[in-house]
């Protein structure tokens, strides 16, 4: 008997992964409208997928990779620098400490932002992140190290 995980319904995928995808896309894109579009595109790609997944972890990793690629499409389409919508951010994070923390993360370049988010927020390991983003574990470690350093500099500069 196959233990493959079949494609779930629209509601199931939003219930299980909606917040994760929204958080990731929001951190990557900096505003709610673009994040919603990227989540929508990701879920539509998921629902049109014909094959199932090896297991739930495979499904989650596939969704993260697809969301990352959708965010990249938005970057390419806009052909300009990302705009962080501070109003959207304040609405989601009314607490100033949280706001400063996420604002610092969002000000990092894309490649560091993604790796830091997957490692610290979603709890993925270096090897798992390497598989998701298609890089070597040592490249992930380097990005984590540089990202951490950059965050530390922002914290010191802003006096958090």
């Amino acid at each position: 008997m196959s233990d493959k995980k079949p494609i779930g319904s629209c509601e199931e995928v939003f219930t299980a992964y909606g917040d994760l995808l929204f958080r990731l896309c929001f951190i990557m894109l900096g505003n709610e409208a673009d994040a919603k579009d990227a989540v929508q595109d990701t879920v539509v790609s998921y629902l049109t997928k014909k094959d199932g997944f090896k297991n739930a972890d495979h499904e989650k990793a596939w969704l993260i990779t697809t969301a990352k690629n959708k965010c990249r499409d938005v970057f390419r389409f806009k052909l300009r620098h990302r705009e962080i919508n501070i109003d959207d951010l304040q609405e989601l994070l009314p607490d100033k400490t949280d706001l400063n923390c996420i604002e610092a993360l969002m000000s990092l370049p894309e490649k560091y932002r993604l790796v830091i988010t997957l490692y610290y927020v979603e709890g993925y390991r270096v090897n798992e992140i390497a598989k998701i983003i298609g890089k070597t574990p040592s490249a992930v470690k380097m990005r984590l190290q540089t990202g951490r350093k950059m965050l530390q500099e922002i914290y010191l500069k802003e006096g958090f």
Binding site: R23, Q40, D41, F77, C101, L105
Partner: protein, 196 residues
């Protein structure tokens, strides 16, 4: 502040229930359109095969055609919208001309069918009016929908300072609108002769 705080702060970024419901609705609608598009594409292919194998004449095949949805692609291949094509047999058009006004009545043959059932309004998109010499006298001037209900739209084209004579209205597309959705362009070929 340390990096571990990131997790606590970031996990407060969640989708509101309202946003979740809105996105679920949108995704389901896109999937419905995609399924319908696929279904229509199969029907279209089946019709073509039937035409080829049975050697039916073109007129008979044309009558069997239905409209179909088609994706609009961006430069990088991503789908950015949908249009509806080959709707000639799905919308009946009639025209009344009087005192500086041209009233076009566009009526969906099956108003309860998708996409017509979803519209709140329907208007002309790409059209022109030519005189008996073939000269264009009006080209896609903004028209106004005075009434829309049950797939039937009454559209008024401002038609002033035009000499009396015979004219032809050529419509290449309509546009259907529903609240919260991107307008849907419905393409086809409609030609109606009228005198003014």
């Amino acid at each position: 502040m340390n990096h571990e705080n990131l997790k606590i702060s970031a996990q407060k970024i969640i989708m509101s229930d309202e946003t979740k419901k809105e996105l679920i609705k949108k995704c389901e609608k896109i999937m419905e359109v995609k399924k319908m598009n696929k279904k229509n594409s199969i029907v279209k292919h089946a019709v073509i095969i039937a035409v080829v194998s049975a050697c039916l004449c073109c007129t008979a095949a044309g009558a069997a055609y239905h409209g179909f949805f088609k994706d609009i692609f961006r430069y990088d291949g991503a789908v950015v919208g949908t249009k509806y094509e080959q709707a000639t047999n799905e919308i009946k058009v009639s025209v009344t001309a009087y005192s500086g006004k041209l009233t076009v009545v566009a009526e969906a043959v099956e108003p309860s069918a998708f996409p017509y059932a979803a519209f709140d309004n329907m208007n002309l998109n790409d059209y022109k009016i030519v005189d008996s010499n073939g000269k264009t006298v009006i080209d896609s001037l903004p028209a106004e929908t005075s009434d829309y209900a049950d797939g039937k739209a009454e559209i008024i084209i401002p038609f002033q300072n035009i000499e009396n004579g015979d004219y032809k209205l050529i419509i290449n597309s309509f546009v259907g609108e529903s609240k919260g959705d991107q307008p849907l362009v419905i393409s086809g070929e409609w030609e109606i002769d009228f005198s003014f």
